[in-house]
């Protein structure tokens, strides 16, 4: 295709490079773009919004893990900072657009500063330090958030009202459009959808820029990149800040959707694991992996987990020992963990990598 083709510039020249992958991505895009019309009801819309948010969260994580080759366990911390930024602004001030804007900006600044600090501090010594230190800082942050009751609402978190236009009671038109009433909920969904789309295309731009190529060169061989004159620490720190900023925005979007922010929905380690799993399943080092990883994982989480619980119930009523425990809905994480380990071993290229290999 010609370089001046609009699709080319939208995708920054980074095509799916596999017909099946392209088709899958197109299906995801269409489903998400028309979710309120295709799948009416609050549960499917909930799933669709979650997928949008997680695509950004996972893509921003892949910027670190897949493109820069460093492991961070603080991604949920930044996600949480975004969430709490909205929560604190909405709860303590007013559910207005101004408060929202201020909340988002403060959260972004805080997240990027924190990322910069952690990065400059630990990326300088050894990349492996980074993983350990992010883990430590993130768990300290989580504990802090649950203890600072007056500010964060502690373990209970905060429920709050959001700007009027985004509330369920708001009606954009008096008449339904294509059989669906356009209320504040749907507006919020589209706010999330378009923000996610924009952020994703921006991320695509970043990884395909000269900057992104240097990152990948560092991932392949940091000594060589350093020898070629690239300041490895600087590049890694910038990537870390970008990734943190994107995660913060994902947290903002989620907070708008849930109208609630608490430790369990933002800072918990379980979310960190989910992100890791989505990146690995989708495919590290390709942003399209984030799309497929997030979509597949969240669909499975919302529909398979229920099935698993029912299966466990069946086993239990059949009187089989131990197995009901293994398949109990609370043991969802057990299977995710096994799946995760197996994917890292046997499937490190993920779905996108496999699809691209098939083409060759």
């Amino acid at each position: 295709m010609l370089p001046n083709n609009p699709i080319h510039s939208l995708l920054s020249g980074d095509y799916p490079r596999s017909r099946v992958l392209g088709a899958l991505l197109f299906v995801v895009l269409i489903c998400l773009a028309f979710a309120p019309f295709l799948f009416p009801g609050s549960q499917p819309l909930n799933v669709a919004a979650k997928i949008c948010v997680f695509i950004i969260l996972v893509a921003s994580y892949d910027l670190l893990l897949g493109y820069t080759g460093i492991v961070s366990f603080a991604h949920t911390m930044f996600y949480g900072i975004g969430g709490y930024g909205v929560a604190i602004a909405m709860y303590n001030f007013s559910p207005s657009w101004t408060a929202l804007g201020v909340g988002v900006i403060v959260a972004l600044v805080l997240a990027i500063l924190l990322a910069l600090l952690i990065g400059l501090f630990s990326l300088r010594v050894r990349a492996i330090f980074f993983a350990m230190i992010t883990l430590a800082v993130a768990s300290a942050f989580a504990i802090l958030a649950s203890q600072l009751n007056e500010i964060t609402g502690g373990e209970d978190g905060r429920s709050y009202r959001i700007p009027e236009m985004l509330r369920p009671a708001f009606r954009l038109f008096d008449e339904p459009v294509m059989g669906v009433m356009i209320n504040g909920r749907i507006l919020t969904y589209y706010l999330i959808f378009f923000s996610a789309l924009l952020l994703f295309l921006l991320a695509l731009r970043v990884v395909n820029s000269p900057f992104g190529r240097v990152l990948q060169a560092i991932r392949e061989n940091d000594f060589r990149a350093e020898a070629l004159g690239y300041r490895v620490v600087v590049y890694r720190s910038i990537a870390n800040c970008l990734s943190a900023g994107m995660a913060t925005l994902a947290g903002v979007l989620m907070a708008l959707w849930l109208r609630y922010t608490g430790p369990d929905t933002t800072l918990s380690f379980a979310i960190m694991i989910d992100i890791l799993l989505m990146v690995v399943i989708g495919g590290m080092g390709t942003l399209y992996g984030a799309v497929l990883g997030a979509a597949i994982f969240i669909l499975a989480q919302n529909y398979l987990q229920v099935l698993m619980g029912q299966f466990s119930g069946m086993l239990e009523s059949a009187g089989i020992p131990l197995l009901p425990g293994l398949f109990h809905a609370d043991r969802w994480l057990l299977w995710l963990g096994i799946l995760f380990v197996l994917s890292v071993y046997f499937f490190p290229v993920g779905i996108v990598g496999k699809l691209r290999q098939m083409r060759k």
Binding site: G69, I128, L144, L334, G337
Partner: protein
């Protein structure tokens, strides 16, 4: 490497620089805390508690730092052995329940030792399996190592839920180990004193093994330059498996002590303490056992003092301590000389 440096044999012996500064930090910290805490008796109680905690953290962390030093393997799943060690002690506690309630102190200590023995055996075996199945396939690949060991950790934690149930299990200290020894105004819990004694004993044994035996010599040499150890004709892999198993067993031991200290078992306890352990081995210098010991004491002292002075900052204090130490020595207190 100049001519001047190669002095003739008549010159004075070069000075051996023993680096005492980090060692001085521990008493210094205690002294600084005394006026801040205000009361001597409270200070004694806090300090003993901190020393006990420090010993336990050291036991749990020592294996991890050696494993990293020897083979450049960072096991994010190290906490598994801590949790498993703690839960496995239930196996010994079952048949020996009578000993726990007995008023015979020997039986009380016996049951604690039995728990430790069972836990060390099981976690040692688990460590052997973990090394073979989880770690061996990803040697030399840091990224995968971190991901896989983290995954292994989640699976193991969930397996604890499956085997022992999801709710916390209360753990009773043996009768004779409850309560405190009171000297003047200062109360020291008996169990903490025992933990300190146990911890010091293990540290002493480790020190002897590392400095007085051939195996210890090989481990120290291997931490510095594994390739050269191989070129001298030793199989570093076997050594590594041995250290991994021993480190896992020590983590199991630490897990038992930690569980009795908290008097509750939770599947996540290993993961929680893992964070502290990482801080400790970073502070100590990755690969250094002595640094790990001092790091553990420092972290525990700071945590206990701030826990008393400003409870909400307790965990944050460890991170602050790490930041301060790394600003002073970016590679930790005792950086290991690497190739």
């Amino acid at each position: 490497m100049t001519a001047a440096a190669d002095a003739p044999p008549t010159a004075a012996l070069p000075k051996v620089r023993v680096d005492y500064l980090p060692m001085l930090l521990v008493p210094l910290l205690m002294l600084v805390a005394l006026p801040l805490v205000g009361s001597v008796s409270t200070w004694v109680t806090l300090t003993v508690a901190a020393l006990a905690m420090g010993m336990m953290i050291f036991l749990m962390a020592s294996g991890l730092t050696l494993v990293f030093g020897l083979m450049d393997v960072l096991n994010f799943g190290h906490g598994v052995f801590i949790s498993f060690g703690a839960y496995v002690s239930l196996i010994a506690l079952g048949p020996l329940a009578g000993w726990v309630e007995s008023d015979n102190l020997l039986l009380n200590i016996g049951v604690l030792l039995a728990c430790i023995l069972v836990a060390m055996l099981v976690t040692g075996g688990l460590g052997y399996a973990f090394e073979r199945i989880v770690i061996r396939p990803v040697y030399g690949q840091h990224l995968k190592q971190i991901l896989i060991t983290m995954g292994g950790m989640i699976v193991a934690e969930q397996m604890i839920h499956v085997i022992w149930g999801a709710s916390p299990i209360p753990l009773r200290l043996p009768e004779g180990l409850r309560g405190a020894i009171v000297i003047g105004d200062a109360a020291m819990e008996k169990y903490r004193v025992i933990a300190v004694v146990l911890g010091l004993t293990v540290f002493g044994i480790m020190h002897l093994v590392l400095n007085r035996t051939k195996i210890g010599l090989l481990i120290r040499a291997g931490v510095e330059n594994a390739e050269m150890v191989e070129a001298l004709g030793y199989r570093i892999r076997r050594l590594f498996v041995g250290v991994f198993v021993a480190g896992s067993a020590l983590a199991g031991l630490g897990g038992v002590l930690w569980a009795f200290y908290r008097q509750t078992l939770t599947a996540g306890m290993g993961m929680e303490v893992n964070v502290l352990i990482f801080i400790v081995i970073i502070i100590g210098g990755l690969g250094s056992v002595g640094g790990c010991f001092i790091g553990a004491l420092l972290v525990a002292l700071v945590a206990n003092y701030t826990g008393f002075l400003a409870p909400k900052l307790a965990l944050g204090s460890s991170i602050l301590l790490m930041v301060v130490i790394l600003l002073w020595r970016p590679q930790g207190l005792y950086p290991v000389a690497k190739r």
